[in-house]
Structures are given as structure tokens and as C-alpha cells.
């Protein structure tokens, strides 16, 4: 049943991705900006321009370009990037780990901080603690992630230069790792020096990404917890003599988690989108900064590949979200 559901959701993703592919292919050709015009050198004449169009296959009708591209894409080949002359699939897979690790770290921070604030706010409901939590989350929500990023650069990069400002690792250090999952691999291989270095580089972008989500989680979870704490089972537990901490953490939290998980899932997709700006600010080499370069350079094959990747990530997040509902709520698991 469980596997069938996964399979069904994956099959549903195919027409979605196909639709995205068609839409993106057409859109990137409709918006202004000819990639060949970007590389016309001084001294070129019309013949050179035509030759360059032919070289990149841009002289063919759009439908013809699409059939060629779609045929290759079905075999996993998304073409060659115009600017980097690298295979698009390879290029994206070499950069995806950096973004996935950043998103994972940011989401972990957001859940931990947001959850802790919600629990604190519930525990000290009606007192100064709740007011403080509400004030903090309100302030954090009112500042966009990129502004947090710039603020962190000034504070922790310049005034208190304790954290590196840009990149993913110290460029003077030879990493010698087998994969591009630098944080994960260095951690599993007990290369603590590299792990610490990578974490230091990820700290500011991850926290900048995490803060707005943490505040959102704190608000929704606190509201859910407040509702649960008013339920009969919670009151009964209190009457039985269990402490407020115990009721919140051991009984109410699990029930309150479902709407929070739903919100977190939706916000995770925004978190992935938010990496584009944050990666640019921190010169973090993930698919977000790759996307900006691709758009600036009108690198059509790369733009198409990246948008499909983002779409696939969103679909997978939604799938994981659905599965997590089932894990949290037995009623959904058993129909």
C-alpha cells in the first residue's frame, strides 16, 4: 500500500515535469536576450552571427529545437551549457550537493530553533516568556533572508571577523574528497577539520535562510500547541500530576506537529528558492548561484536543466511531506 502510494505519486510527477519542460522551453525563448548576441565579438558581420546561431542549433524552428532537446532529455542528456561548455546534467549534479547540504542545514536549524521557541512560548504561556517569543518571531519574520545575510556579513564577517564571508570551504585547503557532499563526507570520514571549515562557511548563509522559517514554525507550532493543551487528554495528564513540560513534550507536541509539518514542507520549497539570492550574496557554489549565472548569460540549456531540477526537488519535497503525514497520523496510514 505504502509503496504503491509512492509509485503513484512518482508517476503523477511525470506529466508535471513534462509540462514544466514545455513551458520553460518556450518561455526562455520568448523572453528577450539572444545568447549568441551576448558573444558577438567586435568585427563580426552578419555571416558570423548566422554561423554562431547554427553552431548552437538556434537557427532551427523552436518546435524542432524542442524535439531535439526532449529526445536527448529522455535519455538523461540535457545538452551542453553554452557558457561553460560542460554537460548540463554533470554540471547540475556537481553543484546540487552544495545546495542540498545548505538547505538541509538551514531546515534543521529552522526546525530546532522554531520548535524550541514554540515550546518555550507554550510553557510560559501568558507570561513574559511568551511575549518575548512573540516579539522575537515577529521581528525575525519582518526581515527578509537576504537582509539577514548582509547583516551577518557586516557583523560576523567584518566587525567581528569570526566567520568566512564567501565560498564553501577554505580555498587554500586541498579537500581530497570523493564526492561533492563535502559536509556529509568529511563528517562520515571523520575529517573534522574539513567539517568544521565547511560548517563555518555554511553558518551565515544557513542561518540567514533558516531564520524566517524558524519564526514561521515557532508561530504555527505555538498556536497548535496552545490548542492541544486545551484538549481533554492534556488536561487529564495535568490532573494526573504530570508536569507542564511533560505534557507539552511527550503528549501535545506530536499531535500539534501535523499542521507544522505541512507548513514546513511548503516553506521548504521557498527555502530552496531562497538559496538563489543567498548563494549569490555568499558566493556559495550551489545551483542557486549557477541559476543566476545561467540567466545572466542566457545559457538556455542550463536554464532548462536547472528549472527542471528545481521542479523535481519541489515534487520530492511534496512527496516526502505526504509520507510524513502518514508517519505522524496513524489514521492516514491505515486509510
Amino acid at each position: 500500500m505504502f509503496l504503491r502510494r509512492i509509485l503513484f505519486r512518482l508517476l503523477q510527477a511525470i506529466p508535471t515535469l513534462a509540462g514544466v519542460a514545455v513551458l520553460v522551453f518556450v518561455l526562455v525563448r520568448v523572453v528577450p536576450g539572444d545568447p549568441v548576441a551576448m558573444m558577438i565579438p567586435p568585427g563580426a558581420d552578419d555571416a558570423v552571427v548566422l554561423r554562431l546561431h547554427a553552431l548552437y542549433g538556434l537557427d532551427k524552428p523552436v518546435w524542432n529545437q524542442f524535439t531535439i532537446w526532449a529526445g536527448q532529455a529522455l535519455t538523461g542528456n540535457f545538452g551542453v551549457s553554452i557558457t561553460t561548455r560542460q554537460n548540463v546534467t554533470g554540471l547540475i549534479f556537481s553543484r546540487l550537493p552544495a545546495t542540498l547540504e545548505l538547505v538541509f542545514l538551514a531546515a534543521t536549524i529552522a526546525v530546532a530553533v522554531g520548535g524550541a521557541l514554540a515550546v518555550m512560548g507554550t510553557r510560559f504561556s501568558g507570561r513574559g516568556g511568551e511575549v518575548a517569543v512573540d516579539a522575537v518571531t515577529g521581528f525575525v519574520l519582518s526581515v527578509p533572508d537576504f537582509l539577514w545575510g548582509l547583516g551577518f556579513i557586516v557583523l560576523f564577517g567584518v566587525l567581528l571577523p569570526v566567520l568566512p564571508i564567501s565560498g564553501r570551504s577554505d580555498p587554500t585547503r586541498a579537500l581530497g574528497l570523493a564526492t561533492d557532499f563535502t559536509l556529509t563526507e568529511s563528517f562520515l570520514r571523520l575529517r573534522w577539520g574539513i567539517t568544521a571549515d565547511v560548517l563555518a562557511h555554511m553558518a551565515m548563509p544557513a542561518v540567514a535562510l533558516a531564520l524566517p522559517l524558524a519564526a514561521m514554525i515557532a508561530r504555527v507550532l505555538k498556536a497548535s500547541l496552545a490548542e492541544q493543551m486545551g484538549q481533554d487528554y492534556a488536561l487529564l495528564s495535568r490532573v494526573k500530576g504530570f508536569s507542564r513540560w511533560h505534557v507539552i513534550l511527550a503528549e501535545a507536541l506530536r499531535n500539534a506537529a501535523i499542521p507544522t509539518v505541512s507548513l514546513t514542507g511548503v516553506q521548504l520549497t521557498f527555502l530552496v528558492g531562497g538559496t538563489v539570492l543567498i548563494e549569490k550574496i555568499f558566493s556559495y557554489p550551489g545551483i542557486g548561484s549557477l541559476a543566476i549565472d545561467a540567466v545572466i548569460n542566457r545559457d538556455l540549456p542550463l536554464i532548462q536543466g536547472l528549472i527542471l531540477t528545481f521542479a523535481a526537488i519541489f515534487i520530492l519535497i511534496n512527496l516526502a511531506l505526504d509520507l510524513s503525514y502518514a508517519a505522524l497520523d496513524p489514521r492516514l496510514r491505515h486509510g
Binding site: P35, M38, I40, P41, Q86, I165, A174, L290
Partner: protein, 510 residues
């Protein structure tokens, strides 16, 4: 697969054990290191094909790793590269080039005349993807005699050897390239330049090591790191925090602030990059010479430089900057708002009944570009010109320019690192060039004989005459020459290059 806690721990321990068995390649880089917070990333390594090959902003990196056929000094004068001597034969039908002896590739193999022939042949192949193929395709029938290479030329090109110091004018290693192929070359590029590639992480950093066997002498700085920091505020933070030793392309205000800070220094130079406004003769209003002259006369370029660019610019009156070969200081288009208003009145325009057209500009592509156009539009308003600003991206500009569909006025910055008039006035004003905006037979008639002119003095005089004609008829509005600012740590000497290329091989310790 069931992932249990015990299984996870076991996997971790296995990986940890494996880690002990795998020899660590990691080693902290040692020695003298200079880190540059660089404003653009490096998309691709082959400096002769694709869009990167004609991207002026990454030539600094290419010039660190690869040698050009002919080199260029910081003042734009030419010097030996992998060619020691060069020239045209007496008849102007072919060229000769003496290849430098003693130069070696980064893998230790010698640079040979075959490498030069192969590089030029590849560059001239129409299917090879070299954007400047139309220049290199002029050469054929290469012959090697000792260290001399000769070739036939389809036509005399006075700028041919200058192109050898310009975009795509790099010599690549024939044997290595054929062995590893284009993809292998992208993964592990080698050249014969002053620095060797040690590590490269796309969009993150490039680490270079000094080439101890460089024919021009080993560079003073052992390790150079280009950190790709594309956000200007992050570059400011990099240099201010001490994380980087050198940076460039930062806001003028930040440059003025940083250069006064203890431990930092600033160095500036005018560069071969000018700001200009194309005038396109597609709109009837631009066919009125009075309007064009009024557009030129009513712009106070000195004010723009002083107030908007904080003095980091040089007002210009032609498309030739003072360092270019065909620069003629006697050509002047003085600021004269009263004269401009009279010209507009003569054509029936006034503040109340202004001439209307659109001016296109980028916003943030060059420092203060949009603000500069706003100021110019304000100046024009006083003489009876009501221009509406349209902001577009640079990709759109290129597309419109190539299609001759730019608005009547369009802001652009034009680079010309070799300082030759063909690559400034020539391609900007010749109607058959996709880069020109003003298309007219009279200008073409002046330019046409100059493409193949063999008498250099006559050629330069001819281009000066074209510049005078263009200024006299107000066919373009040259604004200013940009000034590059570089901030660096006080313990470093940085020599700026008028081409704008930041060359770490010229760095020394103070």
C-alpha cells in the same frame, strides 16, 4: 532496505576505518599566498572558444595561465609573448612569426612552432567555435622553418597582430589537448603562462601556483587564489575583514572609504573601457542634425564624472580614449547648453514643445549607469529634449543592436584593450558591423579604405578623420573613459593594467 540505528553506526565506523586506509591528499597550502576577491566567475577554461573567450572580465585569469602570441604592457604597448618577433612580408600577402625558444608547457614539454600553427589553424576553423574565427581564418598554408612560422593571408589586416594580444589570441598545447580532448582540458587545463592551475571549483575559487619555469621569470607570489565573489558588498567585506588581499569593481564610495583605512591601499588607472550613447538613425527625430548636436552639447560630462563617479572617469569627445593610437586631442565637443537650446529652437523645439524619444540603458551593469542617464535626461530637458528612459538587460541590448533595433539613444560601454581604431570607432560606426547603430553611406565611405591600409601613419590619420567627421556630425555621444579602482593590502604592490586585466604575475611584496 531497512536502515537501523545499529546499521548506521556500523556504516559510519566502516567509513571511518576506510578513511584511515585512504591516503589523505589534503595538505594545507603553504608559502606566500595572495587572495583576490574577484568580481566574476570563470565559466570555462578554453580561452579560444565559446562566450568566455570574448568575455573581457575573465582575461585576467586566462592571462595568468596561458600565454598570448603577443603580450601587452600595462600601458597597452605591445611586447613579446610566445612570439618574439613578428611581421608582414613586404608584399603584404603573408606573415612571419618567430616562436620563443625556451618556453615550456606546465607539464614540462617545450612550446614548439607546431603548437602555434595548431592553435592558429584551430582558431581559424569555422566549425571550431572560435568567435573571432573571421580574423584567424584569414591565415592559411602555414610553414615551419626552425623557429619561424610563416603563413599566407587572404588579405592584409593591419590589426592582425594586435588581435594576437587580444580576445582568443592564446596559444594552447597541441599534444596535450589532442591527448585529453576538450573535456579533459576543461578538467585539467595547462598553459605556458606564469601560473599553473592547482585547484578549481567552479563558481567558488581558483587556486594557482607559480610556474617556476616561466620564460618571463617566476612570479613573485607563490600562490594566488581567485575567490569568485560576485556580490559587490561581499567583496568590500572580504577586503575589509582581511579575508582577501586584493579586490576590484566595488562602489566608488566604498573605494574612497577603504583606501583611507589603515593597512589598505588603493590604486587607480583609466582603462580601455568607455561609456557612450549610441545614436540610432531609425527614428526621424535623429535624422535632424540640430537635435543630435544639441544632445551632445547639452551634456556636462565633467559634472557627471565629478559628481556621480566621484572623479573616477575621464570625459571624452570621440570613441578613442587618450591611450588609444588614433586619439586626437584636437577633436572637441564642448559643453554648450545655450548653443544646444538655440539649435533645438532652430528645429522648432523648446522646453514647452520638446523633441521626444526613448533612451535605453542598463541599470547596475556599469557603476552608476542608470543614474548617469537620469542626469543626462535632466540636462537634455533644459534644452528641449524629453527623453523617456527604458531599462533593459545587457543581453537585450546586444540582441537589439545586432538587429539594428536599438532605441534612438542607447547607453553602452565599449571596451578596446588593444587600442586600435578598428576595434573602437571602426566596429562601432561601420554600418556592416552588428555593433554599429548609426548606419550611413558617408561614414562607410570614409571607413572602407582604412580596413586594408598598409601605411600605418596614413591609416591612423584616416581614423582620426573618421572620428572628426563623426564628432562634427554628432553621430554618437561619447561620454567618459572609466577608471578602475583596486583596493589591496598595504604589504602588496599591485600594478594596474590599462586593459583592466588584474594580473597577479605583476604583484610583488612591498
Amino acid at each position: 532496505m531497512n536502515l537501523t540505528r545499529r546499521g548506521l553506526v556500523a556504516s559510519g565506523l566502516t567509513l571511518a576505518a576506510a578513511n584511515r586506509l585512504i591516503p589523505l591528499r589534503a595538505a594545507r597550502a603553504e608559502g606566500d599566498t595572495v587572495t583576490i576577491a574577484y568580481h566574476v566567475g570563470l565559466p570555462a577554461w578554453d580561452p579560444t572558444v565559446g562566450p568566455s573567450a570574448v568575455n573581457p572580465t575573465i582575461q585576467s585569469i586566462y592571462q595568468s595561465v596561458f600565454d598570448q602570441y603577443i603580450g601587452q604592457n600595462p600601458d597597452l604597448s605591445f611586447t613579446g609573448g610566445l612570439l618574439e618577433k613578428w611581421g608582414w612580408n613586404d608584399a603584404g600577402t603573408g606573415i612571419w612569426m618567430d616562436v620563443r625558444q625556451g618556453a615550456v608547457w606546465h607539464d614540462g614539454s617545450p612550446v614548439t612552432p607546431d603548437d602555434v600553427v595548431w592553435s592558429l589553424t584551430r582558431a581559424g576553423d569555422p566549425k571550431g567555435g572560435n568567435p573571432i574565427q573571421f580574423v584567424w581564418g584569414n591565415l592559411s598554408n602555414f610553414k615551419v622553418e626552425g623557429h619561424r612560422v610563416t603563413a599566407d593571408a587572404k588579405q592584409y589586416d593591419p590589426a592582425l597582430f594586435k588581435w594576437m594580444a587580444f580576445l582568443t589570441g592564446y596559444v594552447l598545447p597541441k599534444a596535450y589537448f589532442e591527448k585529453v580532448g576538450p573535456e579533459g582540458f576543461e578538467k585539467k587545463p595547462i598553459g605556458s603562462g606564469p601560473y599553473m592551475v592547482d585547484a578549481f571549483e567552479r563558481n567558488a575559487f581558483l587556486r594557482l601556483k607559480a610556474n617556476p619555469h616561466y620564460w618571463g621569470g617566476e612570479p613573485a607570489i607563490e600562490t594566488v587564489v581567485f575567490k569568485f565573489v560576485t556580490d559587490a558588498s561581499a567583496r568590500v567585506a572580504e577586503i575589509e575583514s582581511g579575508s582577501s588581499d586584493v579586490t576590484l569593481e566595488i562602489p566608488y564610495e566604498e573605494y574612497d572609504r577603504l583606501k583611507k583605512k589603515s593597512g589598505l591601499k588603493g590604486v587607480t588607472t583609466p582603462v580601455s573601457d568607455i561609456g557612450m550613447i549610441f545614436i540610432t538613425n531609425v527614428d526621424p527625430v535623429m535624422l535632424d542634425a540640430n537635435v543630435r548636436h544639441a544632445m551632445v552639447k547639452s551634456v556636462d560630462k565633467k559634472l557627471l564624472v565629478d559628481k556621480l563617479l566621484r572623479g573616477y572617469g575621464v570625459p571624452i569627445d570621440t570613441l578613442e580614449a587618450p591611450e588609444y593610437e588614433a586619439y586626437d586631442p584636437s577633436i572637441k565637443t564642448p559643453y554648450d547648453p545655450k548653443g544646444a537650446a538655440k539649435l533645438m529652437a532652430a528645429s522648432g523645439y523648446s522646453k514647452d514643445k520638446p523633441a521626444k524619444f526613448t533612451i535605453q540603458t542598463t541599470r547596475g551593469f556599469k557603476p552608476k549607469d542608470y543614474e548617469m542617464i537620469q542626469a543626462i535626461v535632466g540636462m537634455w530637458r533644459h534644452v528641449g529634449i524629453d527623453a523617456s528612459i527604458e531599462v533593459y538587460e545587457i543581453a537585450k541590448h546586444f540582441e537589439l543592436r545586432a538587429a539594428h533595433k536599438l532605441a534612438p539613444a542607447a547607453f553602452y560601454n565599449w571596451g578596446n584593450a588593444i587600442g586600435d581604431p578598428t576595434t573602437s570607432t571602426g566596429f562601432a560606426m561601420f554600418s556592416h558591423s552588428p555593433h554599429s547603430a548609426w548606419h550611413s553611406d558617408d561614414v562607410d565611405a570614409l571607413i572602407n579604405p582604412l580596413w586594408g591600409e598598409r601605411d600605418e601613419a596614413k591609416r591612423i590619420a584616416g581614423w582620426k578623420a573618421v572620428d572628426r567627421y563623426v564628432a562634427d556630425h554628432a553621430l554618437v555621444l561619447p561620454l567618459l573613459q572609466y577608471v578602475q579602482q583596486i583596493v589591496h593590502k598595504a604589504g602588496l604592490n599591485v600594478v594596474p593594467h590599462i586593459s583592466g586585466a588584474l594580473q597577479p604575475q605583476r604583484f610583488t611584496r612591498a
